[in-house]
Amino acid sequence: MDRTIIDLWVGIFVAAGVVALMVLALKVGNASTINLSESYTIYAEFDNIGGLKVRAPVKSSGVVVGRVAEIQFDPRKYVAKVALRVDRRYEFPADTIASVLTSGLLGEQYVGLDVGGDTVVLKDGHTLKKTQSAVVLEKLIGQFLYGKAAEGGNSK
């Protein structure tokens, strides 16, 4: 079997394709940041999740440590039950607080984890006890107007 000029071209072609894939994976995408194949799942219950979506990031101190895996409505407690898949490399105390936050004024919503001081760490399947719901803009404006009105009433 002889090597031909076609082999050379096909070789160049395949190599270029693989390089392009690598560029897309490493340079354009973020294959290197978190690895969710090694993860554990914890749950958090929120009164209101606002615009949180599945696959939204889970951050602690601003670093992405996991992703939102599932969002369900609990029909008995009337709360939103959110499953968080967290990278196995990171462990969190049991009294960690989860809150739904917004990056920037119009940015995407994510789950922030504020670390507590407990010595017991969260395990797969645990549910966070303390959560903070999303801030709903209409409620915030409503409160602000109400406060202003009350202020105005007092000053008279």
């Binding site: 096909v10 072609f13 394709g17 894939l21 994976a25 340079k27 354009v28």
Partner: protein, 260 residues
Amino acid sequence: MRSVRHVGGSVVNGIWRLGYASRFFVLTLLKSPVSFRRFHQLTMREVYFTGVLSLIIIVVSGLFVGMVLALQGYETLQKYGSSEAVGTLVALSLVRELGPVVAALLFASRAGSAMTAEIGLMKATEQISAMEMMAVDPIARVIGPRFWGGVISMPLLAAMFSAVGVFGGYLIAVVLIGVDDGAFWSQMQAAVDWRQDVLNGVIKSCVFGVAVTAIALFEGYDAPPTAEGVSGATTRTVVTSSLAILGLDFILTAFMFTGV
């Protein structure tokens, strides 16, 4: 009455042809082992014809599409003061949609039509019949290697299209307009996910590769053995596979990117 009969006839004919095409596709898959057993001798050549010869059109188009995306995206994003997000815009549009779809459309018109014309001419000049009379199965010997050559080439071409497109976007946004280099890449990397975006794009282009080559080969094999027959089949290949690409893209996008 006659029009009813006409409509009925064309429906029956269409379903008949669909069944024939499906059987052809299954036969191609069943007779594929030859394409791999004699990969170097048969399939390599087809990777060359479908992949390497489509390289230039893919790379040049990718570069221009990326550059246009960056220009248009910058104009719009600038109004909201987030011109650094142009990297995200270019990369996400390319990796998720434009890379696989536009590369497949170009592939259909460059390689698909050539494949149909080649097979159609082989049929018109009795080369297929001659092969059958020599006790060589044309589906195993002619169709199979071309099919796998196309299926191997397509995702590689789409990846190159996206990568070159991102580079084109970088040229316009960073080098020409002066968007911050670091922000361009970091915002892009934060937004583009390896599994969700890149891998799904690759899966899309594999599906398109199967669809385009299967359509092109079937149209060629089914073409009436005349000059008009072959030219008609070539046109049908481009039309049918373009529609198939866009339709499949809608279905795949609905499955992949709607996080419901």
